[in-house]
């Protein structure tokens, strides 16, 4: 099995899975009913992509495991999502801002990935990009609303920025394996997306009157399985039932 491809696919999958898990906690608790539906929709899309990616990862692994085995029986140190995905939801400004960051990144990433020489990845990306286009429209328009809304929404958006900005550097981390896969036209080297992402996000932040924190030290570790304390709790909740009855089929 190509461990490089396996690891890369898992990174993509884990980002989606963990973020979807966070988003799905909003269902039934959204700021108004229409937004509840919108967020649930986004969570559904993300879980769907995660499932497809995990199916592929399991296939690459070649040990007969399923997407559920990968989702429910790996432990904290085996998850390779970006740290931003596992952060708590906070208030709606924090959730929306996180979406704006990840949607912009995913939009660039999946647009490129749709051209991958790996047919499976290209196929997954082609489907995902339609959804991501919509997600980005949603999150960016809300960032605008908050940044140009009331004093309270502006303040909350700035607070969200102060909390989340330090996790945005991690999007662009790359490895030698990823670079090699990218040379082969299979993977997208995350580091190549930084320029375009910054351009789009800085424009958005300017329109929304959000200031970038001066202390711009970027957190890292997720890609190596070194997570924040959030992930343990998130996985405990997500994995509890299959781990409780490991022989059961669901």
């Amino acid at each position: 099995m190509s461990s490089a491809l396996y690891n890369y696919t898992l990174k993509l999958a884990d980002d989606k899975l963990v973020l979807a898990q966070r988003l799905s906690a909003w269902t039934g608790h959204g700021p108004f009913l229409e937004e509840d539906l919108a967020l649930t929709n986004i969570a559904l899309d993300l879980f769907g992509t995660a499932k497809s990616l995990l199916e592929y990862a399991a296939k690459i692994e070649g040990k007969g495991r399923t997407e559920d085995d990968l989702a429910f029986f790996r432990n904290e140190r085996q998850f390779t999502n970006c740290l931003i995905c596992e952060q708590d939801n906070g208030d709606y400004a924090k959730t929306i801002l996180r979406q704006a960051f990840t949607d912009s990144f995913d939009y660039l990433l999946y647009n490129q990935l749709a051209k991958s020489k790996d047919e499976t990845l290209a196929g997954i990306a082609a489907k995902a990009i339609k959804e991501i286009t919509y997600h980005k429209r949603h999150s960016h328009s809300w960032v605008n609303r908050f940044g140009n809304g009331t004093d309270e929404s502006k303040m909350r958006l700035q607070n969200a920025m102060n909390e989340l900005w330090r996790f945005t550097g991690e999007f662009f981390e790359t490895t030698d394996d990823d670079k090699e896969l990218s040379k082969q036209g299979i993977a997208v080297d995350f580091s190549t997306l930084k320029g375009a992402w910054e351009k789009e996000i800085l424009t958005l932040l300017q329109t929304a009157n959000v200031a970038i924190p001066l202390d711009a030290y970027m957190q890292t570790g997720g890609r190596k399985g070194i997570h924040t304390e959030h992930l343990g709790f998130l996985l405990s909740e997500m994995q509890v039932l299959p781990r409780m009855l490991p022989d059961a089929k669901w």
Partner: protein, 311 residues
């Protein structure tokens, strides 16, 4: 020649015609519909909570997707119904206020807790099954917006029941622990589901209006009997046991004789003392309150947009 609006209204009903929002309607018709439709809407929205409770713990990716889609549908149903009620002259704010202050009712079934994953199966199978039975005839109810909302809702509802039964099937034919989980859920949800059809006919006979206005065609007891008859074979297929020890087939009526649910418990639940009444209202109030700044920001942004568009 002046038109007698009341005669027009009555003749519309007599011809099975549809009443639309701008038609004249008697006060009692309008009030009854506002109450019924808004309560139906509240039930959908509150109903998102017991099921939403298990989204983060759904035991497979497919189960998660299906449950998310189901709960999302319920939110959507709430929306269709709120807007149908609004056509009668009440605002969404007023309806939400009534719900949040405990003035408005919603289906009592959602005041029960979802304790295990099997409860999710039981709700889809039993609760949605009962809801379908209650709702099917509303697709031809006299008030247009309500009827149209119900057509959409009924289309989506059968997926919900199948989802629930699929969960129950996987559990009932799974490991001994899973089967036990399924049986336990059935034990707890059986009687509350029977309560969904309302009090016995002796306490709540169908009013003439309910029939004339095409709001109810069958009585509570008739629907309840039909539900039991339909569900027992489904229980038997799963290899589970109905918690009603007195259940017996009655050849003469070609149906089951069954025990009435505990009507004292029912009354206590609808009066606010069920296991989760307080929690449900706290959750809805919190979501609404936490969302206030979001709605205010959106309104302000919308206002600014309108101003610049008009300029």
């Amino acid at each position: 020649m002046s038109v007698n609006v009341e005669e027009v209204f009555e003749s519309k009903l007599a011809k099975n015609d549809i009443i639309e929002p701008k038609d004249w309607m008697p006060d009692n018709y309008r009030k009854h519909l506002i109450r019924q439709i808004s309560q139906h809407a509240h039930s959908e929205v509150v109903g998102m909570l017991p099921e939403g409770n298990w989204i983060t713990r759904a035991p497979s990716l497919r189960a998660k997707l299906v449950l998310l889609a189901k709960v999302q549908d319920e939110g959507g149903h709430g929306l269709y119904l709120y807007t149908a009620a609004e056509s009668l002259g009440i605002s969404r704010d007023e309806m939400l206020d009534a719900l949040h202050t405990g003035k408005a009712k919603y289906s009592s079934i959602f005041n029960y807790p979802t304790l295990t994953w099997a409860d999710i199966g039981a709700i889809g199978w039993l609760v949605d099954g009962a809801a379908i039975m209650n709702q099917v005839m509303l697709q031809r109810t006299s008030y247009g917006p309500y009827a149209r909302a119900m057509v959409r809702i009924c289309k989506e509802e059968s997926f919900h029941q199948r989802q629930g039964y699929e969960v129950m099937t996987k559990l009932s034919f799974g490991t001994p622990e899973q089967k036990e989980m399924a049986q336990d859920a059935l034990n707890r949800w059986w009687y509350p589901t029977l309560m969904m059809f309302g009090p016995p006919d002796v306490e709540s006979p169908n009013s003439d209006n309910a029939i004339k206005w095409r709001i109810k065609r069958e009585t509570n007891d008739q629907l309840r009997q039909r539900f039991v008859n339909q569900t027992i074979p489904q229980i038997e297929y799963l290899g589970l046991t109905c918690p009603d020890k007195s259940l017996k087939w009655n050849e003469a009526k070609k149906g089951y004789d069954f025990s009435e649910p505990n009507w004292v418990e029912f009354k206590s639940v609808i009066h606010g003392n069920g296991p989760c009444n307080k929690e449900r209202l706290v959750a809805r109030n919190k979501a609404h309150k936490d969302g206030e700044w979001v709605r205010a920001a959106a309104a302000e942004y919308g206002r600014k947009q309108n101003e610049s568009a008009a300029a």
